[in-house]
Symmetry: C2
Subunit: 369 residues, 2 copies
C-alpha cells in the first residue's frame, strides 16, 4: 500500500527542517488528527493502524497507509510517532526492536509518542532496547470523542505539548521532535523530565478524576441522593463531569500513574480531614462559649487563603489572548545543561514556539503562579 | 415611603390565592429578583433593605419600599420573605419578635426565608420565639453576581425551591408558602425536613466547595505548579471553578452547615485513602510478580462502578425537556402525615408544580437515581 515516493515539502522553521517524512502508528483521534494536520502542513505522512478500517478515508485525505508496521518502517520516515493506545505499547515496541535488530529500522529514525504518562512509556522503551532513539511527547489535545471518524486537524490548534527528556536523550533527536511540534504541527511546547510531567499530570488530571468519582459515589450511596441531585447546580455538575467519562479509561490512566496519584490522594485526604477537624473545633468552641458566632481559627482562614495565588493567576488570564499578544523571550541553552535549562524555562511559565538556531529558542511568556 | 393601598391582583392557582401582598426583606440579588418577579406576576410587593440605595430603582420597577422594618410590617403583608444575608438573620428576627410582641406584626402573617441552610435558621427563628409562624424555604437560584443591580426576575425561571417543615409547622402556613412558590413565582418545589435539606446541600455544594479549594491548594503548594497549570485542561478548570468564588462567603457557608460538611469531608477522605491503598497494593503486587500488567482488584473496579447510577441518571436527563413534557402525578396527603408524605414524594424525584385542592398537589416526575 505504501510507495516510497518523493519526500513532501515540509513547512520550514528558523532552522532547515530535518524532518520531512513522518510515520504515524495508530489512526485514532490523536494519531488520525496528527496525520491530517501534518499532511495539511506539507509533510509526507505514512501511517499504520492495527486495522485497515480507516485506510480508505485516510488515503483520500492524503495519508499514505502501510499494510504492516514493517511497511511503515520500510517507507523510511525521519520520525515515528507512536499514537497507539498505551496498552499496545509493549507489543509495538517489541516489533520495532525486532525491525531495528534486522536493520530495517535505520539508526537515524527518531522515535516519539503521544502517551499521557511518560515514565511508564520510557521504561517500556528501555525494556525494548530503543531508549537511544526515543524522545517523549504528550500533546494537550483531545476531546470526549475517539477513533478516526472523530479525527480533525484543528484538534492541534494552538495546543501545548510536553516533551520529556532524560540524561540519555540525544540533543539532535530532541530537536527533531521539537521542530516537528513547533514548525511542523504549529504548536507550543515545554520541556520536562518524565517525573515532573507525571507528577503534574497526576495533580491536574489523574488525581482529580478519582476525586470526581468519589464525589459521585458519595451521592449514589447517600439515602438523600434524589433530594441532593434535585438541589444540585453548577458546582456539582462541574465537579462530577469527568466522573461521567469511560470509567475503564479513567482507571487505566490512574493505574498508569499510580505512585503519583497515590501520594496526591493521601495529601488531599489530609487536607479534607484538617478542615473537618477545624469545623469540629469551631463547633465545640461555640457550644462551650454559648456563642452563636463561632470564632474562625487562623488555620481555617489560611485554608481558604492558600488558594489565592491560583485565584490571582486565573484573574490575570486573558480570555483568549492571541499567541502573538504574549511577550516573547529568547531562551538559549548550553550543550551540557540544555535539559535543566529548558525545564527551568517551563517552570517560569514559558512556552517554546520556535527554534531560531541550534541552541536558541523563542518562547511566549505566560503568567505564572 | 409605604402607603397601605389596595391589595394587588395576585396570579391565582387551583385554589383561591390567600397570599396577595408579600413583604421582602433585603433587595440583594435573591430578594431583589424575587420582588421584581412577584411584581411582574401581579403581587403587591413591599420591601425593606438595610440601606435605601436601591429604592429609587426598585420603586420605578413597581416595588413599594419601606423606610424601616416596622413600616414594612405596617403595610400588612400576608407573607414576609427574609432575603437578608444569614449573618443579619438574628438581628432581624429579634426586631420582628419585638414587632410581634407589640402587636404590630399580626399573628396571621407567615414568615419564610431563602437561606441556604435551614437548620441554623430554624434554630434562630425558635430563639426569637417566631417558630409558630415560620416555614423554611431555599430557592435553587443565583449566579456569580450579587446586589440589587444584578437583580433579574428571570433568575427564578423554572427554579426549584426546597421548602422545609418540622413537627410544629402549621399546614395552613405551609400552603401559603407553597402557593407563593408555585402559583406565585411560577416555580417547582420539594418539601423536606431541615436535616435532609442541610445534608443534601452539604453533599452537592458545601463539601464540594471545600474539595475544590483543597485541589487549588494542592496546586499552589506544589513545586510543579507552573508546569501543572500549563498542562491543565477542562478537568482542572471545572473542578476548581468554585474555588475562585469569594472565599469568605464559601467559608461562611461551610461553617453554617459545619456538622454535615465535617462528616462528608471525613467520608471523602476515607474514599480517597481507600483508592490510594488499592493503588499501593497493585504496585506491590506488580513488583512482586514482575508482571507489568498489574492485576486490578475487585475493590478498584467497584470504586469506579459505584458511580454508575449517577452516570445512568445523567445519561437519562433530557437536554432541555420543557416542564410540560415530564410525566405528571397527583400527590395526595393526609392531615396528620403530610410532612412525611411530601418528603417521600421528594425522595421519589417528584417536583410539585401546582396545588389542586387543600391536600392535593400536581407534581412533575423527574428521573431518580
Amino acid at each position: 500500500m505504501v510507495s516510497v515516493g518523493a519526500k513532501g515539502t515540509a513547512a520550514t522553521a528558523g532552522t532547515a527542517a530535518r524532518v520531512r517524512r513522518v510515520g504515524v502508528v495508530g489512526l485514532g483521534l490523536i494519531g488520525g488528527s496528527l496525520a491530517l494536520r501534518l499532511v495539511a502542513r506539507g509533510f509526507d505522512v505514512v501511517a499504520w493502524n492495527h486495522t485497515p478500517r480507516p485506510y480508505g478515508s485516510a488515503e483520500r485525505a492524503g495519508v499514505r497507509c502501510a499494510a504492516s508496521l514493517a511497511d511503515l518502517v520500510a517507507a523510511a520516515p525521519d520520525v515515528i510517532v507512536l499514537c497507539n493506545p498505551l496498552r499496545a505499547m509493549p507489543e509495538i515496541l517489541r516489533a520495532l526492536a525486532a525491525l531495528a535488530e534486522d536493520g530495517a529500522l535505520d539508526e537515524s529514525v527518531t522515535l516519539t509518542d503521544v502517551g499521557s504518562v511518560k515514565g511508564m512509556v520510557r521504561d517500556q522503551v528501555k525494556a525494548a532496547g530503543l531508549a537511544d532513539r526515543y524522545v517523549g511527547a504528550h500533546p494537550m489535545a483531545g476531546n470526549e470523542k475517539s477513533g478516526w471518524d472523530a479525527a480533525d486537524p484543528a484538534l492541534y490548534d494552538d495546543a501545548l505539548w510536553a516533551v520529556t527528556v532524560d540524561e540519555g536523550t540525544s540533543y539532535r533527536r530532541f530537536l527533531d521532535v521539537a521542530e516537528l511540534i513547533t514548525a511542523g504541527v504549529g504548536d507550543r511546547m515545554i520541556v520536562l523530565d518524565d517525573g515532573t510531567h507525571d507528577r503534574a499530570a497526576a495533580l491536574i488530571s489523574h488525581m482529580p478524576h478519582v476525586v470526581a468519582t468519589a464525589l459521585a459515589n458519595e451521592l449514589t450511596e447517600s439515602d438523600d441522593r434524589n433530594v441532593a441531585v434535585a438541589l444540585s447546580a453548577g458546582c456539582w455538575r462541574d465537579m462530577t463531569r469527568v466522573a461521567l467519562t469511560d470509567p475503564d479509561r479513567t482507571r487505566a490512566m490512574v493505574e498508569e500513574d499510580a505512585a503519583n496519584v497515590e501520594a496526591l490522594l493521601r495529601s488531599m485526604a489530609d487536607r479534607l480531614v484538617a478542615v473537618a477537624d477545624l469545623l469540629r473545633g469551631e463547633r465545640e468552641q461555640a457550644a462551650e462559649s454559648r456563642d452563636a458566632d463561632a470564632h474562625t481559627p487562623q488555620a481555617m482562614l489560611d485554608f481558604f487563603a492558600d488558594a489565592d495565588p491560583f485565584r490571582a493567576y486565573k484573574a490575570a488570564q486573558p480570555g483568549h489572548l492571541a499567541a502573538g499578544d504574549h511577550p516573547r523571550v529568547t531562551v538559549m541553552v548550553s550543550a551540557d545543561g540544555w535539559r535543566g535549562e529548558l525545564l527551568a524555562s517551563a517552570r517560569r511559565g514559558e512556552h517554546i514556539v520556535r527554534i531560531d538556531a541550534e541552541r536558541t529558542f523563542t518562547a511566549l511568556v505566560r503568567s505564572a503562579l
